[in-house]
């Protein structure tokens, strides 16, 4: 099995979960209502946990330990997509991003449970169970708000128009996409994207919300090759601030 291809995939999985986990944790204490604050923070923590388990798989392939991979890599070594790097914005944006991201994550996890790389297949199966809640949370909220006032629907739609083109960056192909598919590690990104598209359309049916038809996603590509939005650098600086004080400290 091609180790470089495996690491490419695992870094994408880990970095996306770490970055969106950190972003969503920024809502802790300032969420819209107490119950939602707790639920959102808890899911953010779950996401960071998923990242940790992917970093552990990378470590087993000969890379540094998970903490170092998370806190001690330069921005250009990250493989996260632009969607997860964006600031939290208003709650409509964060909610829609969570919706788009976690539906994509569901599609990917389902495919990964069939992966020819057994450690990844087993991990995907474990994460998939816990992830069921994130999917339920996103879908229930979007349906609830879309069924509410005109203002709620408008704000969701405008967040969807903004975030959807960014979300296409989740499925940006890399130099290893074909190898991964040929070796049965994961289907091609384009295959996953069309499954996601179908799931999105099904879920949004009857909500009055629609996916934007006119957009340019090109500006949001590059994350998988280390070309990031201007938001990742400052976020990593803030995230690693304490770690950087003394990287050798024992916790």
């Amino acid at each position: 099995m091609n180790t470089e291809a495996l690491k490419d995939l695992l870094f994408r999985l880990a970095d996306d979960d770490l970055v969106i986990g950190h972003r969503n944790s920024e809502w802790t204490g300032i969420g819209p209502v107490l119950e939602e604050d707790i639920a959102f923070a808890s899911m953010a923590q779950d996401c960071v946990g998923h990242a940790q388990s992917y970093y552990t798989l990378i470590h087993e392939l000969g890379e540094a330990d998970p903490d170092r991979l998370a806190f001690h890599r330069s921005e250009k070594d990250f493989r996260s997509c632009h969607l997860v790097e964006q600031p939290i914005g208003d709650y409509a944006f964060s909610l829609i991003r969570h919706f788009l991201y976690d539906l994509a994550k569901q599609v990917r996890l389902e495919a990964l449970t069939q992966s020819s790389y057994a450690p990844l297949a087993q991990l995907a199966d474990r994460i998939r169970r816990e992830h069921k809640y994130a999917r339920m949370h996103a879908t229930t909220w979007v349906r609830q708000l879309a069924a509410g006032s005109d203002e709620a629907r408008l704000r969701l739609q405008s967040a969807l128009n903004e975030a959807y083109p960014m979300a296409l960056g989740l499925f940006e192909s890399t130099d290893f996409t074909e190898t991964l598919a040929a070796e049965g590690v994961q289907p091609a990104e384009s295959v996953l994207q069309s499954r996601w598209q179908q799931l999105l359309e099904q879920t949004l049916a009857g909500t009055g919300l629609s996916l934007p038809g006119d957009f340019d996603a090109a500006a949001y590509m590059g994350g998988r090759k280390g070309y990031h939005s201007e938001h990742l650098g400052p976020m990593l600086a803030e995230m690693t601030e304490v770690y950087a004080l003394d990287p050798e400290a024992v916790w």
Binding site: G29, L34, E35, I38, A39, W141
Partner: protein, 158 residues
Amino acid sequence: MQFESLDPRVNRLRLVRTNEAFDVGHEMDQWQTWEVFHQQARGDQHRHVGIVHAPTAEMALLFAKEQYARRMKCVNLWVVRTADVYASEYEDADMFEPAFDKSYRESFGYTQTRARIDEYRKAQGLTTPAAAETEKQAEPVAAKTTVKKAGIVIGKKK
């Protein structure tokens, strides 16, 4: 004047400091409450664990999961609209006070019934079903000790 905090997340909200009195809200400007019941294993009784605010039952379940099922094992949750609970009045709390000693009705009384029957049977030289059962499964010595011990304890209490 912009509100300045040590927390960068709070600064990013660009909150403006004002002298206006804090609006404490008014009655019923919150979502309704739901009572949450938690089940640890299939077949167990659901136990009341707390309350969540939510606009619908579906949303209440969503919040209840993170609020109450995050730190303990759970297989099922119920949410019930608080407004649907029909409760007795605290004014009537005195009706729960027994006028005379009715401690025999309390549940501990029933836990001793089996032991008392066994004790009686033993005194009459009858085999107790419990002892016969234990003798079949465990070593005879151990089984006899158990029965004897139960008898002595009850005897002393009386």
